[in-house]
Symmetry: C2
Subunit: 229 residues, 2 copies
């Protein structure tokens, strides 16, 4: 074996700090999906029509399927999924506590915007992990386009109600703020995950550009729904 | 074509009243699964551990998958799933309104006992429908044994708490009573479904024996959990 650059990857993978970062990433992603599943199912209870209940149920069921994929992957790699998820129970609970939707429409916007930001973040992070981890992350991040119906429903709802448009725009800004604030809290707590970026040779400028991409994508989602970001 | 007995089946299937009964059966089964999915996900929010949340989430996700199977089957047969489910929204809402679990443990017992009774009833009904309908009903009635963990959890919980055992036994009796009372209300409202039994040459003695089987199975489930029926 020569020590060409690609041979460095397995060596990095064996490092305890790298492994801790992967466990954290999979843990937070899994617990995020489990919680998104529960929250969406709870909101779906409030949906005014059977068609909406059904579509929101589909979103929830997809979240659960993603959760299951991640848990099975962790088990197959000898990781303890419950231990991996545990550190993220509190920050995710705080996020959901602070962003309780008033009604099913705010619930839908929250799912589209909140999961959108979270998934963009995990997609960015997946650039810094090994192939195996990246594959399972990407498969768990695929919502099969089930969230697309949200865009049309929000556009239709605000079409005749400008007050609602203003209220949902504010709601979207609050969701972004709370998501970034909890992400910040997690970054401070979980050294290994932050080190994946910084220790992986990512400079602070690149971290800044990542946040710009996240907020740009957020604005794009808001504008697709017809809402000011 | 001769008019041997087996040739009668397609003829029966073409009858509008038979078709109405099948639409009703699939509609109530589908809406029951959708509602069970939502209720279980809501209860799962209260579960005290990650392992329980995960197991209850699995139950909920299986209910949704069953719902989806039924809806897809109805669409492929030219039935309108929403129209088929609509008549059952009110009675199922009344059932759930009258049997709101206090806490996740009552939620689990409700899922095991309530879905148990409902599924036994649908299994009985599936004897009176055509092969195609029976196949999709049976596949939607399969919970893949995911509810089995409930038995162990209830046994463990009452082991050290006899007051709880008494309370859950009462709860089980109430669930049976409310389920039968709503089933009765549906039978009065939906002529075609009742006629499937009575018009299908089923005498009242057989209907009585069916109810005996349903309550026997209920008692068996209660006793498996260590509860008096």
């Amino acid at each position: 074996m020569d020590d060409s650059p690609q041979e460095q990857v397995p060596e990095t993978e064996a490092e305890p700090q790298y492994q801790a970062a992967v466990v954290d990433l999979l843990g937070v992603l899994a617990y995020g999906e489990l919680t998104a599943f529960i929250r969406m199912a709870v909101d779906c209870d409030l949906a005014p029509t059977l068609a909406l209940k059904s579509a929101m149920g589909q979103l929830a069921a997809t979240d659960y399927a993603n959760y299951k994929t991640l848990v099975e992957h962790m088990r197959s790699r000898g990781m303890d999924p419950e231990a991996a998820m545990a550190p993220f129970v509190a920050p995710i609970a705080v996020y959901h506590e602070r962003t309780k939707p008033k009604g099913w429409l705010e619930g839908l916007v929250k799912a589209y915007v909140g999961e959108g930001i979270a998934k963009d973040f995990y997609r960015e992070m997946s650039a810094y992990v090994d192939e195996d981890t990246r594959t399972v992350m990407q498969s768990a991040l695929d919502d099969e386009g089930h969230a697309e119906f949200v865009v049309q429903i929000v556009r239709d709802s605000i079409h005749t109600d400008r007050t609602l448009a203003g209220r949902l725009a504010l709601w979207g800004r609050r969701l972004l703020g709370e998501a970034l604030s909890q992400a910040q809290a997690v970054a401070v707590e979980r050294d290994a995950m932050s080190a994946l970026l910084v220790g992986g040779g990512v400079d602070l400028g690149e971290v800044g550009r990542m946040f710009t991409r996240l907020t740009d994508n957020h604005q794009r989602r808001m504008s697709r729904m017809g809402l000011e970001a």
